[in-house]
Amino acid sequence: MTGAALASLALLERDLRAVARSRSQLYSSVLFPLMLMALLGAGVSSGLAPNSPRIIDGDYTSFLAPGMIAMTALFSSTFSSAGFYRDRESGLLRAMLASPHSARTILFGKALSAILIGSLQAFAVLALAVVIPGIDLAWQFGWLGGVATVVATVLALSFMLSGLSLLLALRVKTMQGFHLIFNLVLFPLFFLSGAFFPLDQVPGWLEVIGYINPLTYAVDLLHYACYAPSPDGLIGPLIDGLVLGGFALIVFTLGLSRAPRAV
C-alpha cells in the first residue's frame, strides 16, 4: 500500500473510532429516518389515503423507505462535516496538514470516512426496513441486484455529498454558516427529489426543478432497486446511474481540487 493510502487508512480508522465513541450521533442518524417512516408513513397512509399509482396500495410507509435511505446518507455527510469543523477548530486539521502528505490526501482520508460512515448508516436503515414488518419492498432486480444497486447508489450519493461538504467547508468558516447553507440548499432539493412525493404529479415548475436536482436521480435509482415493482419508473436506471455518477465524480473531484494546505 502506498504512503497516501496508509495515511488515508489511518484517518479513516481515527474517524470511525470517533463516531463509535459519539453514540448519540450514531443512534440518532439511524433512528430518525425510522421514526419518520413510522410516524409520517402511518399518518399519511391512514390520514390522507394517497392514491398515486407510484405509492403502491397507498402504503406511504414503504414508499418512504428509499427516500429515508437517501436522507440518512445526506444527514451523515452533514454530521461528518461537523467533524471537519471540529478538527479545524481544535487545530488537529492543521497538525495533519503539516504531515508529508498533500492536503488532498488528508482531505481524501477524511472524506473517505464520511462516505463510509454515511453509507454504513444508510445500509443500517435499509436492513431495518427489510426486517420491520409492514414495510414492503419489491426487489425487481432480485435481492442481489437490488442490494448491489442500493450500495452503488448510496456510495455515489455519499461521494457527491462529501464533495459538496468539502467545497462548502473549505469556504465557509463557521459550522453555523455551513449548516445554514447546507439546510437552505439541500433540504429543498431533498424535498424535491421524489423522496416524499412522486414528482410526476407535481406542478410543472416543480417538476422541472426536480429534474435538474441530482438527488432526484439517487432517490429514483433507490426506488428502482428496492421499491418499484416494475421497470416503469420515473426516469430510468441507466440515466439515473449516469447522472448520479457524473455528479458524484465532478463534485468530489472539485471538492478535493480546492484543498489548501493552510486552513
Binding site: L11, A18, S90, G91, P100, H101
Partner: protein, 337 residues
C-alpha cells in the same frame, strides 16, 4: 528518546544547510503580513521570534512550516525547497493545543506516526520513549479531554518530536502555562537542541527568550528589526530600566525627557512609560523634581531584553508623538542579518 533510532526516511540533502527564509514576504487578505524577512536557523540552535501580537511571527512560522508559500523571496529547509521531503523534517507545535478530545494520548501519537509513515513496531517504541521523556507515560490511555493545559502542551510537543524532526517550530508553546510546566517544556527543547535539532519558538515573553534562546529575532509590523544573541541585544542598552506610572505624558514632557543626558529609549506600554537610563540614581531625583506630581509610581530594575524590545520596536509607536517615534525608529532600529 534514544538518538540511535534512525528515521525511516533517508536524508536526501546535507543538513549542514540552515533552514532559511530569504527576503520572504507574505500578505494576508486585508493587508497584514510580513515582508523582506531574512532568517537562518542552524541545527542545534534555539531561535526565538519575539514580538507583540500581530507582529507577523506566526506568518514567519507558517512560511517555514510550509503552511503558506512566500509570495516574495524563498524558503528552504536544510537546502530543500518546501515539499513532502522538507515537511518530514519539520515538527510543528501550533499556538493552540491541537488535540482531539475524543482521542487518547496514545491514539493521538499513533495517528501522527502513521501519517509520517512510521512502521508499527517502531511507532510503538517511539511512543513509549517520547511519553517517558515528556513525563506523560502514565496518561497514555487517557482521553485528551482529561488533560490539563500543561499536559496537552507536552502532548503537542511529543507529537511534533515523534518523527524525529530536524527543525522544530513552536508557536508560543508556554503561553498561559504555570512556571513548572513552562520549565519542563524548555528543558525538553534544550535537550532537543542538544541533539542537533533546530528550534524556532514564537514568543512575546522577553524573559523567557532572554533565558533560553541562542538568538532572538525581533519582529514588528511584519518586519525583522533585529536578529542577534540576547547578550548582544542587551549590551547596547543603558544600565537601568525605569517603569513610570505616568498615564498621559504630553508631547512637550516627552521631548524634554528625551533631551536629558543619560536617558535612552522611551516607550509607552499599558499606561506606563518605560525608559532606559545610564544611572537611575541620577535620573530618578530629576524626574520627581520636574514631573513629581504627574508620576504616581516608579519601578527600577536592571535593563533586560524587554527594554531592548521596547527600544527597538518602540511599542506602541502610535502612543508616542509622531516625530519622536519616527526619530527613534530611524535611530534605534538595528538590523543584523
Amino acid at each position: 528518546m534514544p538518538s540511535s533510532v534512525q528515521s525511516p526516511i533517508e536524508s536526501p540533502s546535507p543538513l549542514q544547510e540552515p533552514a532559511q527564509l530569504r527576503a520572504a514576504g507574505f500578505e494576508w487578505p486585508g493587508g497584514r503580513g510580513v515582508s523582506d524577512v531574512d532568517l537562518q536557523v542552524r541545527r542545534g540552535e534555539i531561535v526565538t521570534l519575539l514580538g507583540p501580537n500581530g507582529a507577523g511571527k506566526s506568518t514567519i512560522l507558517k512560511m517555514l512550516s510550509g503552511e503558506i508559500t512566500p509570495q516574495h523571496g524563498s524558503v528552504a529547509i536544510f537546502g530543500e525547497p518546501h515539499g513532502a521531503v522538507a515537511r518530514r523534517r519539520i515538527g510543528l507545535v501550533l499556538q493552540e493545543s491541537s488535540t482531539d478530545d475524543l482521542m487518547t494520548v496514545q491514539e493521538t501519537l499513533e495517528l501522527h506516526g502513521r501519517l509520517f509513515g512510521l512502521p508499527r513496531g517502531e511507532l510503538a517504541r517511539r511512543c513509549e520513549d517520547i511519553l517517558e521523556a515528556l513525563d506523560i507515560a502514565d496518561r497514555a490511555a487517557d482521553r485528551c479531554e482529561t488533560l490539563s493545559g500543561g499536559l496537552r502542551r507536552r502532548l503537542d510537543i511529543a507529537r511534533a518530536l515523534l518523527h524525529h524532526p530536524d527543525l522544530l517550530l513552536l508557536d508560543e508553546p508556554t503561553l498561559a502555562l504555570d512556571p513548572e510546566s513552562s520549565a519542563a517544556i524548555w528543558q525538553s527543547l534544550h535537550r532537543r537542541a542538544g541533539d542537533g535539532v533546530a528550534v524556532v519558538v514564537c514568543s512575546n515573553d522577553t524573559a523567557e527568550a532572554e533565558s533560553n534562546a541562542d538568538r532572538v529575532v525581533i519582529v514588528s509590523d511584519g518586519r525583522v528589526l533585529a536578529d542577534d544573541t540576547p547578550q548582544h541585544l542587551t549590551s547596547a542598552l543603558k544600565n537601568d530600566a525605569l517603569e513610570l506610572d505616568w498615564p498621559s505624558p504630553s508631547d512637550d514632557e516627552l521631548s524634554l525627557l528625551s533631551s536629558w543626558p543619560g536617558v535612552g529609549a522611551i516607550a509607552r506600554h499599558e499606561g506606563a512609560l518605560h525608559l532606559t537610563v545610564d544611572s537611575s540614581a541620577e535620573i530618578v531625583p530629576l524626574l520627581f523634581q520636574q514631573f513629581g506630581s504627574r508620576i504616581s509610581g516608579i519601578r527600577i530594575r536592571e535593563s533586560s531584553l524587554r527594554d531592548a524590545w521596547f527600544q527597538i520596536v518602540g511599542l506602541p509607536l502610535d502612543d508616542l508623538p509622531t516625530q519622536l517615534a519616527a526619530e527613534r525608529k530611524e535611530g534605534e532600529r538595528v538590523r543584523q542579518p
